[in-house]
Symmetry: C2
Subunit: 355 residues, 2 copies
């Protein structure tokens, strides 16, 4: 792997490593990065050259609207960077030319495959590290919420409530349900444990064999997917998005699910064929869906998903939590120490796997 | 306790025990009761003399509208009853006179204290058994749903969705929250375990000392309640309703909760002073509430709770599940065997404790 070649980054002729912070970050967290090694690190953080965040942990934000001089300053900083904290907000596809010294980029999100391939950075030899493992906790909570929201039919409760109407009914329960979790990485494992804790029978789809994470009672192969779908009450998508998982769930897979079953997607939008999903929901085959991700984001205002009673939409924000930047910086600080010591980095994006 | 006196219910002169089914029940479940002892049991089930259920597991239903002859038949059956499955739908307060031979009534709900006291049956010497322990699983799921619903601000998500509006924000999370669960019986224990499983720090209020149920890290005394309320993010009520827990949570307790905190009630309505709750919600002190129970049920159409954005109302149906009657009959069958053998019954209502 790429990072193993960084054995002695600090030679007498190269005493300093320049880290450029390329997306919004709180000044106190920048200081925490500087504290890693004040003798050998030059950490550049110029907030006025960065996008303005629209909410506390916004990594994209609104472009700063730089004039020519400002942009020239930003490009000059990039030229000095050995390490980038996040992808260059300005021209990520041009990082190899605009930042020719960059050997490592620490991304601030977990699923970076789609963007990396879109920008062509998978063809560069820059080491990329992602934030896999940092979003499992809030996303697992969101999946539990989503499944209970559908199983207990909250849309019905709300409709009754808006009519001031008191009528008892019988709801289903997660306890005893069978749920297929696609992807058993950190995210899928946490989701599985949470659902098993509520008494669900959790099946998991992953490529590799070996011990299953706690709570998962059966492994499903990709070849068994369609058969397995016919035997579950709910499908949860928690896999990386790669060419292999593109439209993993299409019309045939959705039809294979039993009538009234539920779909929850916290992976990436294009893991599902979205028009097929819309059809399966509109036609009443599915009981409902909870979606944090979409084929096009922001979800276009004319998407039929917005107005579906049994669909809960989250604007790709289910993983957001106030402490996110702190956790990202913890990971980055650890990786930075490893980088300076020439040890292998954590969370390296593996080009051959696509995530 | 009352039931220990039933040592030899079957003597040569009393070969038969008459069980009268007094609320709607599926015929196949009645057969399961008959199977307990076909030689010594006479199980009377006359659906046309019983209320008609409005939904699958409805134990109250619509009165059958009997003419004089029908009513006379029902009263004649009651006179023969040694055991009642559920309280007489017609005149529960008159059971001691209308069913003078009844020694035991198996109720079909968990919290029967309020009704038993209202009907004066607490002053009879009929053994009463409740269904405590049968509703913990669905109610714990409802509490998890309720807390996540408030913590992830689903009302905000739905409002945004109805506007086709995509704007990311940061939600709180249950992981790391501190939750006080009032009542650590079967229900409170299950709720505590589920919330602890999501990473919440669970405190529990109960009278008795001794080992805490799994997941509960601190016991709160009644005397410490108000202080403890100031230190939690959410309050979950899961205690029996007794004179002692009447308005346990009043205006002072609600004010003691931190601004923006959440209240969930799956106990009984009058455990909270409802006008004080309405005020704490309307004034914006509380972040929201999820309520399955109310001081008056059905909740009156003019209650301000219906229209509150951050309140989720369930019509005292959160414990309902399709398999409920099966589980009640399992308990009843076990208790019936105990009754016939003269062994102590399970789930005896304790008059001195009030539940």
């Amino acid at each position: 792997m790429g990072q193993t070649s960084h054995h002695s980054v600090m030679s007498p002729t190269n005493p300093e490593i320049t880290v450029v912070i390329a997306s919004p970050l709180e000044p106190e967290l920048v200081e925490r990065i500087r504290d890693v090694d004040r003798a050998h690190l030059r950490v550049i953080h110029e907030p006025e050259l960065l996008p303005r965040p629209e909410f506390p942990i916004d990594h994209r934000g609104v472009p700063p609207g730089l004039d020519d001089a400002g942009l020239a300053r930003w490009l000059a900083l990039l030229r000095e960077a050995d390490v980038l904290f996040d992808f260059d907000w300005y021209a990520p596809a041009d990082i190899p030319t605009n930042a020719p010294n960059v050997r490592w980029i620490q991304a601030t999100s977990s699923g970076i495959g789609e963007r990396v391939r879109g920008w062509g950075l998978d063809r560069s030899d820059i080491v990329l590290t992602n934030c896999a493992g940092l979003f499992g906790e809030p996303l697992a909570e969101f999946v539990v919420l989503g499944l209970l929201y559908l199983v207990k039919d909250v849309p019905h409760l709300r409709a009754e409530q808006s009519l001031h109407h008191w009528e008892k009914s019988v709801a289903r329960q997660v306890g005893g349900m069978r749920v297929l979790v696609v992807g058993l990485g950190d995210l899928g494992s946490r989701i599985s444990a949470a659902l098993a804790g509520l008494g669900a029978e959790v099946w998991g789809l992953r490529r590799s064999d070996g011990p299953l994470p706690p709570g998962v009672v059966r492994r499903i192969d990709r070849e068994e997917l369609r058969t397995a779908l016919g035997e579950v009450d709910a499908l949860v998508l928690a896999c990386p998005y790669t060419p292999e998982t593109h439209h993993l769930i299409g019309a045939a897979e959705l039809v294979a699910l039993p009538p009234g079953s539920f779909v929850i997607n916290v992976a990436r939008g294009p893991v599902i064929d979205e028009p097929a999903l819309v059809e399966a929901l509109a036609g009443g085959h599915l009981g409902g869906a909870v979606l944090d991700v979409f084929e096009t984001e922001p979800l276009p205002p004319d998407s039929p998903l917005w107005d579906m009673r049994n669909v809960l939409i989250s604007p790709h924000a289910a993983s957001n939590r106030a402490s996110e930047n702190e956790r990202i910086v913890e990971l980055f600080v650890d990786n930075l120490r490893r980088f300076l010591d020439g040890r292998p980095l954590r969370n390296v994006f593996e080009r051959e796997r696509g995530y």
